[in-house]
Each structure stands twice: as structure tokens, then as C-alpha cells.
Assembly symmetry: C2
Homo-oligomer: 571 residues x 2
């Protein structure tokens, strides 16, 4: 399995599609010049191609395992993680005060996608650590920051998120893990957490858990939740890993894929923890980490989509089977119309999902650099779209990649099936894609649709500008955007949230289709007559039309969803 990092594609997106020049115009990110971003992408790409990509199969064939309470990682993962840490890739967006590079999220997202494509199960460890870094930066005390941030930024220590309990998955407010005040500035944490990715490992250093728990007499629900930092090894007076804390891995899950990532059941027994943020303010702190991770998980989907695409393309060029009347490559299956259809669909959606994710990252960066609330709202609006569309694209593209392989796709040796199995969880973790869609139509529309409409205004402005060059394409995108606007108006007019939730997922997908068309069109304008214009034509003519059926579904309301009783559903 070979992998080529999409360095040129990111350079193009940065320069022509997602507006990195505006970011470079801010004081905060003035150093992220084209030369710098180019050099960083090249360097990261090299590591992904040469060091990480060879580990992809290792993680699948030799899953992480639990031995006498210690997690043993897959062969080669230690070297892979060392390369990530030593390259400074964990802390690339982190605060320079603690050793970070202070680079834009746009670059972090790009590098995260490449690392995911190269070795998804390993990339999850630094990705979660990055989320924890951001949460600590925003919410931890100075003492905690000084102790933990340098170690996490350098990749010496890793981080995890501990939300889920058996009875509290999507409904985080139902959690029962307890925190008792020890009276010395620390808390005693007790309870069980499940689905803890990279909850333990043998890569050295320390494992730092951010744990949601409930203080004595805390109110019920999410308002009563606090956040604690619970290290596996308690730092000694010098800040080095010392005595074992009361936290243990009970078992690892046997999963469909992502075997290289240990998914742990964690037991906390009076483990010593430190409060992060305010008492009962755990959800706010956790959301900092979750939002970071949601962008990251979207990138995971895109990374696997790209890796599957490259893999399927190579197979299609190589595999001789049948003859076609295609102008070239008559003997390889890439000459067949339906194989072309699959490959072009894959490529077009990788572009769309990636461009949306980078736009999202740029919005985060602009919010940080300018303090403008409109950018904050934009970032918040795009996050669930990036997460859900990125991961659904990962699943759909990996599935098509398998299909391109024919019978070989179902046989594990090719690696096509592993992409499908590995990427499947990305639509579930960090909030299922259904939860993302509910977030989009409820929380992200609490502004009455203002952020959504502002984005659609911007789309239409760009489309108007493209009309002279590509009248037909621009017209298609403009009409789709108008439909999106109407659907959004309908949505925000629904005061009963069930009406919105009933069509939330199709609405999110339609939004992604329209944004994808917008970004494809921008790329076509910048690459007139080139490959990107051709790809934009394919996307806008063949894939964008889906938005109409999705919007019909989105506005169908809740009534017919509940028309069938539970008995009738079972009948």
C-alpha cells in the first residue's frame, strides 16, 4: 500500500479556495506565509508517506492487546509515534509559550488528514492529545498548564477524553462517575468509563485522562458535570511521572476495525484528579476538546477517503480486465465507464469534503486572529458539517474503493476492506453523525439562521462572480443555494425541534452538497480548462442534483416519522 500526501492539493486550496491570504494578513498568522505552509506540508507529507503509511496494515494485523493490565501497541507504532512527536506535529497549533508552534488550524487540519490517511489508528493518539492541549490552554489553571502542556505539546505525554459510561453515551448528562473533594486541591475520582481510545499504551511517558464526573450534591444532567485531569502516573515534585494513580484498563473492545487503536474500558477507583475549569463547568471545557476533535474526526474520514481513492486508482490502472472503446487505457479497468464513474465520484467528494474542512479550520483561525464573532459563528456552523460529511464521505468513498477492486476488495490482503472497517467508527465517535445533524439544526440555528444565511450570501456572491466564466455551472449552484436558503428559512421557523430533527441528517447532507459545489466552482475559476474545472463539472452536473431530494426529505416534518407505531415497525 503506497500513499502520496496531497501537498499540492492543499497548496492549491490554501492559495485559491479557502482564503488563506486573509489569514496571512492578520497579525497572529502573518508568519504562515506561502513558503512556510508549503515547507510544513512537504515535511509532514514526507513523514506520512515514509514512516506512517507502512504501519497501516500492522495495526490491523497485530491489534493492540492487553497484557497484565498494560496495553501493548502494534509493531512499529512506537517508531511512528516518535516521528510524530519529534517532528513537533502534536503541538503544531499549540501556544508557543509552552513549546507549541502556534500555527493555524488550517495547517493542523491538513497534517491531521495526512496522518489519518497514512495510519488512522495511530493518528488518533496525537489527535486526542491536541484536543486536550486546547482544552487545558483554555480552561486549566496556570499550575496545571505549566506542568502538563509542555509534555503534551512535545508528545512525551498523551491525552484521552473520558465521557461515555455504559448508561451515558450520547446522553452525557446521565453519567454517574463521582468526584470527591480531597480538601487539598485534588479530587478522588471513582467510576467506569467506556470507549476510551488510547486509554493506555506502551509508547512511554504518561497518559493523561480528561474525565467528566459529578461532584457531591451536583445538580442532575449536564449542568452538574465537572471536568478533571487524571494522569495515569502522578507527577512527582520535579514533574516527572511518579506513582501509579488509581486508574486501570479493565478490558479492550474487539472492534470491526481500527485494531491498532486500543479502545479501553477504564476503571477509576479514588484516582487523584485536578479540576479543569469551574466546578459544574465541565461541559464547556469538554466542548473545547470536542469541537477540536470533531474537526479532527472529519479529517480522519477525508484522509481515509483519499487513501482509498489513491489505492483504488492504482488498482484500476494496473488491473487488466475486458476491453472498452475508451480512448486510452483500453485494457485496464480504468477504461470502463462505471469504474471511471466510481473513481471520479470519489475524487470529487474528497475535494468537497476536504475544502469544507479547511474552510472550517480557516474560520476557527480567523476567529482566533480577529476576535470577530461572525467567524466564531461560521466555525461553529461548519463543525458538524465537517464532521458528518467528512466521515460519511470516508465511508462512502472507502466502500466504492472496495467495489473498484471487485473480488479482491473483499479479500483482506489488498487493504481495501481495512479502509472500510477502520473508517466506519468515525461516523459514530465524537458524537454520532445524527447528533451532529441535530446540533446543526438546533444549537447552530439558535441565531435564527443568521450564520447559515451569511454563509449562503457569501456562496451566492462568489457564484455571481463566476457567472461570466461558467454560466451554466454557476446557475446550477445558484439555484441549489436558493433551495438551501428556503429550506433553512423553513427550518428556523419550526419551533418544535422534533420537526427540525426529523430531517436533520438530509439537511446536513444537502448543505454539504451545496458548499461542495461552491468550493468546486471556486476551484474551477482558479483552474480554468484544467483538471479542477473538469472535476467541478462532474460534481455540479452529477452530484449536486442530489440536494433536491435531500431537501424534500429535510422538510417533510416529523409526523410521518412517528406514524408507524413501534408495533407496526416490528410487524
Amino acid at each position: 500500500m503506497t500513499y502520496r500526501a496531497p501537498v499540492e492539493e492543499y497548496n492549491f486550496l490554501f492559495d485559491h479556495v479557502v482564503g488563506l491570504e486573509a489569514l496571512r494578513g492578520t497579525d497572529r498568522f502573518a508568519d504562515a506565509t506561502a513558503d512556510v505552509t508549503r515547507a510544513i506540508l512537504t515535511e509532514a507529507g514526507k513523514m506520512c508517506e515514509e514512516v506512517l503509511a507502512p504501519l497501516q496494515r500492522s495495526g490491523d494485523l497485530h491489534p493492540a492487546r492487553l497484557e497484565n493490565g498494560v496495553v501493548r501497541t502494534s509493531p512499529g507504532f512506537d517508531k511512528g509515534f516518535k516521528a510524530i512527536a519529534e517532528g513537533g506535529w502534536v503541538g503544531m497549533a499549540a501556544d508557543p509559550e509552552y513549546g507549541g508552534m502556534g500555527l493555524p488550524m488550517a495547517l493542523t487540519a491538513a497534517v491531521g488528514e495526512m496522518m489519518s490517511a497514512a495510519c488512522l489508528s495511530l493518528q488518533l493518539a496525537p489527535m486526542l492529545t491536541q484536543g486536550q492541549i486546547e482544552a487545558l490552554e483554555h480552561h486549566a489553571s496556570d499550575a496545571l498548564k505549566e506542568l502538563y502542556l509542555p509534555k503534551m505539546i512535545s508528545g512525551e505525554w498523551t491525552g484521552t477524553m473520558n465521557l461515555t459510561e455504559p448508561q451515558a453515551g450520547s446522553d452525557v448528562g446521565a453519567l454517574t462517575t463521582k468526584a470527591e473533594d480531597n480538601g487539598d486541591g485534588t479530587y478522588a475520582i471513582s467510576g467506569q468509563k467506556i470507549y476510551i481510545s488510547w486509554g493506555d499504551h506502551d509508547l512511554g511517558g504518561n497518559v493523561c485522562h480528561l474525565v467528566l464526573a459529578r461532584l457531591a450534591d451536583a445538580p442532575a444532567g449536564v449542568r452538574g458535570i465537572s471536568l478533571f485531569l487524571v494522569p495515569k502516573l502522578l507527577p512527582d515534585a520535579d514533574g516527572n511521572p511518579g506513582a501509579r494513580n488509581g486508574v486501570n484498563v479493565v478490558s479492550l473492545e474487539h472492534k470491526m476495525g481500527l485494531h491498532g487503536s486500543p479502545t479501553c474500558v477504564m476503571q477509576y477507583d479514588n484516582a487523584t484528579g485536578w479540576l479543569v475549569g469551574e466546578p459544574q463547568g465541565g461541559m464547556a471545557a469538554m466542548f473545547t476538546m470536542m469541537n477540536n476533535a470533531r474537526l479532527g474526526v472529519g479529517g480522519q474520514g477525508i484522509g481515509i477517503a483519499d487513501a482509498s481513492y489513491q489505492h483504488a486508482l492504482a488498482y484500476a490502472q494496473d488491473r487488466k480486465q475486458g476491453k472498452t472503446s475508451a480512448p486510452a487505457l483500453k485494457d485496464s479497468i480504468i477504461g470502463h465507464a462505471d469504474v471511471r464513474r466510481m473513481l471520479t465520484t470519489m475524487k470529487a467528494d474528497v475535494f468537497a469534503a476536504r475544502a469544507i474542512a479547511v474552510s472550517n479550520a480557516v474560520a476557527i483561525d480567523m476567529a482566533k486572529a480577529t476576535g470577530d464573532k461572525a467567524w466564531t459563528a461560521r466555525a461553529a456552523l461548519l463543525t458538524p458539517i465537517t464532521k458528518a460529511f467528512g466521515t460519511d464521505t470516508g465511508i462512502a468513498v472507502a466502500d466504492m474503493g472496495l467495489q473498484v477492486h471487485g473480488g479482491m476488495g473483499f479479500v483482506e490482503d489488498t487493504g481495501a476492506a481495512q479502509f472500510c472497517r477502520d473508517v466506519r467508527v468515525t461516523a459514530i465517535y465524537e458524537g454520532t453523525n445524527g447528533i451532529q445533524a441535530m446540533d446543526l439544526v438546533a444549537r447552530k440555528m439558535m441565531d435564527g439562521g443568521e450564520a447559515a444565511m451569511a454563509l449562503l450570501d457569501e456562496v451566492e456572491k462568489d457564484v455571481e462572480a463566476a457567472r461570466a466564466t461558467f454560466p451554466r455551472l454557476a446557475n446550477d449552484v445558484w439555484e441549489a443555494t436558493e433551495s438551501m436558503r428556503e429550506a433553512t428559512e423553513w427550518l428556523v421557523s419550526q419551533t418544535d425541534l422534533q420537526e427540525r430533527f426529523a430531517g436533520a441528517v438530509p439537511y446536513l447532507h444537502a448543505f454539504a452538497r451545496v458548499l461542495g459545489a461552491h468550493l468546486h466552482l471556486k476551484a474551477a475559476v482558479a483552474d480554468r480548462g484544467g483538471a479542477r474545472e473538469k472535476l467541478a463539472r462532474f460534481y455540479i452536473q452529477r452530484m449536486l442534483p442530489e440536494h433536491a431530494a435531500l431537501l424534500a426529505h429535510a422538510q417533510a416534518g416529523a409526523e410521518d416519522l412517528y406514524a408507524l407505531t413501534a408495533e407496526e415497525l416490528a410487524g
Copy 2:
């Protein structure tokens, strides 16, 4: 994992949707009265629920394995296969002259779906045997029939299909396996075949291979291919299994799923074989088996879809998480709008795919019973749709079923992931779904679209009749049918097949959407005010609109598929 066979659903389909009363009016199938079909479905359903369903996990957890050249099957598969054989389920459609029950394919398809749902990997063995029985009935000499058919019909011996070679998958004409005339009525077969499902096993009896091979001096391509029956054990003078033939299992594939089904690489070294059909007439004989198997594989997809749906529904009713304002079941996740959306979508597509498959089977039966070529053409038209839509539905529904489970879906213990892994191959084997779509738009349209138009005429006739009862639903289906008619006219007007192939898969999906709407509407008419009317509303209002985007894609032509060069695809 529990499974409830859809006996009542099939009774309803038979009585109200697919026109089994016409079949019962023929001489040939006059005995298939409502009482008979009901009794048979009930009996088969009982076996599937009680004997086969408990084996589903066993096949996954304890894959078939090769030991000293012999395939050892998963624990319990011997008892499961015995129940299938002794129940007479292998030979239910077979000629009574050789011990078959002579029942309609409509019933065989129904029972096949149920057995697939209960244990897909085991069901593949009798399914392939049924295909071989049909091929022998139509093409073998009387001597071969007398020797082999009773043993296969009783389930004592099983059958396989040997088409694929490493360099000859979808392009069967490229195969190189040789057959030399031994001059005594037998042939010496030599070559290697891959992806041979159930190529060997330890369930007793004999394994009979139908092998495509090339006689000396045969012309190149598919016209030079002949078909041979090659038993693992050569029958002795009494017709009992005797000496080992020159055929061996070289290895088993390590697959993404369907672990209970041994997928063999077979080596033939001067193996003794008997010609089936005419020399160079192998493809015609093989197509008898393939068409049977394509209907069967469509049923496999539907079976797994139904099993996943039942499994996800049970989980959704049981799993408490969050609260909703839904009228009932507030605490279970089935109260959540998006979970309802997924479950209702799953149920609606199971109905559509199943009704299409049974219509297909009825057309086969009517052709057999009446000799009317219009029924033959109808069956031929529906076969690729049944296969591709049935299996794509299996994949999509199993995927949604996993998603309904949230994090538990990605963990193997629940079985939701197994459905996804197992069903994935059904879109590939017996002709990939891309091949099915090419078959639909090329071979099945060689009549200038006559069979397709006749079917659409029938749809519109039924829709007109439903207009008084359901004006809005009928109107939606009528308009979609008109669009389908226009797309079909465009398609048959394309003399360059590449233009058709470019949109073949979306065209097939659109056709399935429209046929699904037709059959849902018929069900609604028969069940006014009942669950089926509610389900039809959901399907027609939320899922049918997809046809428009699919037809836009179907008619977009080949040009933009080939616009991107291979270099640009890689760029």
C-alpha cells in the same frame, strides 16, 4: 441475536402485491394454493428461526479452515445443513421427476431470503446447489441428470460454480482452463479457479463442480467456452462417491466477512469431467445457473437487510438514552427522530427490494408456466435490478443498522458489524453490481426498450387505479414513472454503448426506486389506513424523490467521465 421469519409479509405480498393468484391459475402451479404457500413459509420460517439463526455468529467466530487439504466447516454447520437438506429446501423448485417439489421460484426466493437472513454463509451452499440443479435440468444429458440430480435435490451432494481465474474475473472470456477429450465420453480438466464458494466441505456426500474450460482449438473469448461437471469424488458403478478426482483446494481466502463460507482456490490437474450442454455452449449453460444465482444473491442482500433491521429495531426499543418529546417510548432511542428516520428507511427499502425480487421470481414462474415470451423478457429485465438493488439495499440497511447501535455497533459482540461485513460481497459476486447495470442497459435493452416500457405501462395502469384512493401519492409515482420512461427512451436511442454505461448504475437505482414506489403503492391500496399505507407514504414522499438526481446522472453521458485523464485523476 434473534430472527423472526417474515412469513406474514410474504403472505401479504403473494396475496396482494406480486400477483400470485395469476400463477395459481396456471396448470403448472395450480397446487401452490394459499394454504400450501402459507404452510411452506411457516415450516421454512421455523427452521430458519430455530436451527439456522443460532449459527450466524458461529460462522463468523469460527471460520471455515483448511486442514490437510480438507475444508472443515464452522461448528454446527453440519446440523444446519442437514436440516436444510432433510426439509427438502434444496430441491423445492426442482423437477419432481428427480425428487424435487416443483414449487414456484416465488417460494424458493422467499425461503432463500429467510435462510440468508438466518445464516448467510451457510445458505450459500444450498443456493449454489439450486443453481447447479437448474443448469443440469436444462443442459445435461439424461445420464448425468439421473446420476446427479437426485443426490443434489436431496441435499446429499452440493454444487459449485467455477468461472473466475486470476486473469479472468468479469471478463470470463479470458479464461485459460483446458479440457482435453479423453475419447471415452469424459474430459481431462486442468487449470486454476479462484473465489469458489463452498469449493469443499466436510458436510458429507460429494462436491460437484461446474467448471468453465476451453476445449482444444476452441475460438478465443466467450464463444470458445464449454461447461463441465467435475465431481470431487468419482461416482462408482452404483453412483456412490468413489475415487478422488484430480481436484484440490489450494487455499482459502481471508475475507472481510462471510467467514463461515469457505472461499477456495481450486486446482484441477487432469480432473475427469463430463460435458454439460454443447461443446462451446458453456456460457449459455452457465447463464442458466448465473441467472438463478443472481436472483438468489439479491435475496441474500434482502435477507441480511431484514435481519439487520430486526436487530437494530430490537436494540432501539431496548436502549435507553436521552429523552424526546415523542408521543411514546420517550426513554428508548426509538423515540428519537433520527433513529426513527433510519429504522423507517430500512423497513421501507426492505419492502421495496423484497417486492421487486418476488415480482422477478413470479415472472420466471409465469414464463415457465405459460411459455409467454413477454414473461421471459420481464424476468430477464428484472434480474439485474433484483440483484443489484437487493444487495445494495443489504449493504445500506446493514450500515444503518450498525449506526442505530452507536458505539455498540462498531464492537463486534452485538453482531451488527457482522451483517455489514458479511453482506458486502453480495454486491461483487455473481457479477458486480456495475456489471448488472451494464447488463440492464445493454443486453436487456436489445429489444429497443420493449420489456422496460411494458413494465412501465403496467406501473402506470396500477397507478391510475390507485389515483382515486391516494391522489397525491399516485401523482408522485406517475410523474416518476414518466421520468423513467423518458430516461429509457434516451437510453435506447444511444447507439454508442459507452453513453449508456456511463449512467448505468444510477439508471438501475432509479428504476428500482420507481418499481419500489409502484409496489409500495399497491400495498397501500390493499392495506388502506394500515401500516403499509404509512410506510408507502414515507417511501414515496422521502425516498422516491431520489430518482430525479439519479436520472440526471444516468443521462449525463460519457464525455465528462473521460474528461479527466488518468494523469489528472492521479493529480
